[in-house]
């Protein structure tokens, strides 16, 4: 049962780069917003306490950004998943390790998605929806993703007798 306890498949290594690019893009937007706020604060004479909050906010944002650049490495290192006839298994997170078991018979739909950044590295994400929750496996090589999507679709077609 050990292989079932810990899923073994991993995300594509390129996913780390994808997360970094996303981080850089959001950083650019963040910096633009901050510049705007600081400019407004000076130009319109915002009260002093608001200015202090702005500076504290910037420091926190800086810290979070550094974390944001380290995070992809850990995310990739700890992401595991597996699919068999009975269950979809997901395991993720280092600081908060989370393991989820979803029965195939409870999956309602499965879809693959690729944005411009994912496409650059030939990756796809897979989203699985159940009756109430949604789970995303962020980055797989496109061929793997499509074959996995099809596998899940076939297994998920079977439905339990609704009691």
């Amino acid at each position: 049962m050990n292989n079932i306890q810990y899923p073994t498949k991993r995300l594509s290594k390129d996913m780390v780069k994808v997360w970094w690019i996303r981080e850089v893009l959001s950083l650019i937007i963040g910096i633009a917003v901050l510049i705007g706020l600081f400019y407004a604060s000076n130009a319109f004479n915002w009260p002093k306490w608001l200015h202090i909050i702005l500076i504290i906010g910037t420091i926190i944002y800086g810290g979070l950004t550094i974390l944001g650049f380290v995070r992809p490495y850990f995310l990739h290192k700890n992401w595991r998943f597996d699919v068999d006839e009975q269950f979809l298994q997901l395991k993720q997170g280092a600081f908060l390790e989370e393991q989820t078991l979803v029965p195939m018979t409870k999956i309602q739909s499965v879809s693959t998605k690729e944005g411009p950044i994912l496409r650059k590295y030939g990756l796809c994400s897979i989203t699985v929806d159940t009756m109430g929750s949604s789970h995303t496996i962020p980055g797989l090589p496109k061929d793997d993703a499509i074959s996995m999507r099809n596998t899940i679709a076939i297994y998920a077609k079977l439905k339990e007798v609704e009691q």
Binding site: M1, L96, Q99, P103, L158, Q163
Partner: protein
């Protein structure tokens, strides 16, 4: 049952009555209080008051002509719309629960609104038969239940083949058919129960807001200060009179509380037959709820602080269908909320033979207590930082009163954490899981492996150090219901995932569904 039917012609009367009920005060305002007004608004309103009822009447007649329904062996159809015709259909096997509503107007006309709920979300999740006669409603319900029962019987036989069945279910299969459908009433509150319920819910306090409202309304017309003029002043200072006055007030409050409780919970009825559970309640507005036993996803027994002290419990059946609230916002799928705990446990076992509350559960490991005490309380830190910064003088007599508040909060938080440790217990054996959580209050959650649709296991860095984990299970409900228990032993959390994986032996795959 196969033909297309119209609703009861009484639905025209019902719609009209509903219109009168909703506009009665406006009519009073326009024709009585402002009867002589010559303002353009009132004059227009007076004409509208004549024309509007005629229009409403015409519309309800047309609606009665166009709205129809049909029920056959497998499906319910509802046809509606005057210009844009709409057909709604729900397969009988998808119906999760049935609700009936009978308000005052329904009762006068001897009609019912019947609703079928499915687990889907959105507009088409519910089919409702707006106004049908009581007899018709009974007949439709019986028809749907018998169709469902046949289905369940098939399922049971399939399950027997797979030799995964509890003893109770085994017995029930052998029972002769005629006993199967006898409806048995399990619980009806007595006057004593109602009185007890009224005190437990502190319903006698409800009189205070009502008296204040009345006082406000009446003081517009009448000056209460007159009562305090010199002539009556002596009366108000007599201690005897004051005592009598207070006594009268208390009696009135208690009586009011009991009547209020009676109207809400007095006519509860919990009944079941072989396949279905029926819950009926309400005196003026009657609602009834029925759910097939096999569709109960889980059972939740809630004991808020007061009820825990008094040994009472609220039992809620977790079901997948929607709109489970009655007109007062009370949950329809709750058994009588003032049951003594032991009675509640018995009742669960009686109406759901496969469920039984097990006394023996596993407590959390010792390390969980250490972890619970070590975890920083952000609420306390936040409040204390604020108090130290502001140092408000809340109770002027006591120096440093802000410090006391911080200390009291700390004591409450830590008591609650120790209680959390003591209350948290769990058990998963065979196909059943039982999870107890709480602090000052307590909740006990029971479910079956086959009804759980997803499980999780989480460990934060600190939990990893203390070798404990959080587990969570998801059941179908609207919205889905996630039950979690924190800080159970690490190896049990692993065992929990293994336990869940064994569900594959219990489920039956529907051969018809994947086409």
């Amino acid at each position: 049952m196969n033909e297309i039917k119209r609703y009861s012609p009484l639905s025209i009367l019902y719609d009209f009555g509903d219109f009168i009920k909703n506009t009665f005060f406006i009519y009073l305002l326009v024709y009585v209080f402002n009867g002589n007004s010559t303002s353009w608004l009132m004059i227009t309103a007076r004409y509208a008051g004549v024309v509007l009822p005629v229009i409403i009447l015409l519309i309800s007649i047309v609606v009665w002509f166009t709205h129809k329904y049909k029920i056959d062996e497998t499906t319910c159809y509802v046809y509606s719309g005057i210009f844009n015709r709409k057909t709604q259909s729900i397969p009988i096997h998808k119906i999760q629960n049935m609700n009936e509503e009978r308000n005052f107007l329904h009762k006068i006309l001897r009609v019912t609104t019947l609703k079928f709920e499915t687990a889907a979300s959105g507009d088409d999740a519910t089919i409702s038969f707006q106004v049908i006669s009581n007899e018709e409603s009974e007949q439709i319900k019986k028809h749907v239940l018998s169709m469902k029962a046949e289905q369940t019987k098939d399922d049971l036989h399939e399950a027997t083949d797979q030799n995964h069945l509890t003893d109770e279910a085994d017995l029930s299969v052998e029972k002769p058919l005629n006993i199967e459908n006898e409806k048995v009433i399990h619980f009806q509150p007595t006057i004593k129960d109602t009185v007890k319920a009224s005190f437990t819910s502190f319903s006698f306090f409800l009189i205070i807001p009502i008296i204040l409202t009345i006082y406000n309304r009446v003081s517009d017309f009448y000056d209460f200060d007159q009562l305090l003029t010199s002539s009556t002043k002596n009366l108000w200072t007599s201690p005897l009179l004051i005592a009598v006055g207070i006594l009268l007030f208390v009696i009135l409050a208690v009586l009011f509380g009991i009547i209020k409780t009676y109207l809400q919970y007095g006519k509860y009825e919990i009944a079941s037959d072989h396949h279905t559970i029926f819950i009926k309640k309400g005196v003026l507005n009657e609602t009834s709820f029925s759910v097939p036993k096999a569709r109960v996803q889980a059972v939740n027994i809630e004991q808020p602080f007061m009820k825990r002290i008094l040994g009472l419990a609220e039992v809620q059946l977790v079901t997948a269908g929607g709109s489970l609230l009655d007109e007062n916002g009370g949950a329809l799928n709750k058994l009588y909320p003032f049951l003594p705990k032991a009675v509640a446990y018995d009742l669960i076992h009686t109406i759901l033979p496969s469920y039984q509350v097990q006394d023996h559960m596993k407590p959390l490991p010792k390390s969980a207590l250490r972890l619970k005490l070590l975890r920083p309380s952000w609420l306390w830190i936040g409040l204390t930082v604020y108090l130290v910064y502001v140092r408000p003088n809340i109770i002027s007599v006591i120096p440093y009163s802000w410090l006391w508040i911080s200390l009291i909060l700390l004591v409450i938080i830590y008591t609650s954490r120790i209680l959390q440790f003591k209350q948290s217990k769990y058990r998963f054996e065979d196909q059943f899981i039982q999870v107890q959580t709480g602090g000052f209050s307590r909740s006990l959650y029971l479910s079956k492996r086959s009804q759980i649709i997803e499980v999780t296991q989480k460990r934060s860095v600190i939990q990893q150090k203390f070798h404990v984990a959080t587990i969570g299970l998801t059941n179908r409900a609207q919205p889905i219901r996630i039950e979690e228990i924190e800080d159970i032993a690490e190896e049990d959390a692993m065992r929990f995932l293994e336990w869940y994986q064994k569900r594959v032996h219990e489920i039956t795959i529907d051969d018809k569904a994947h086409q």
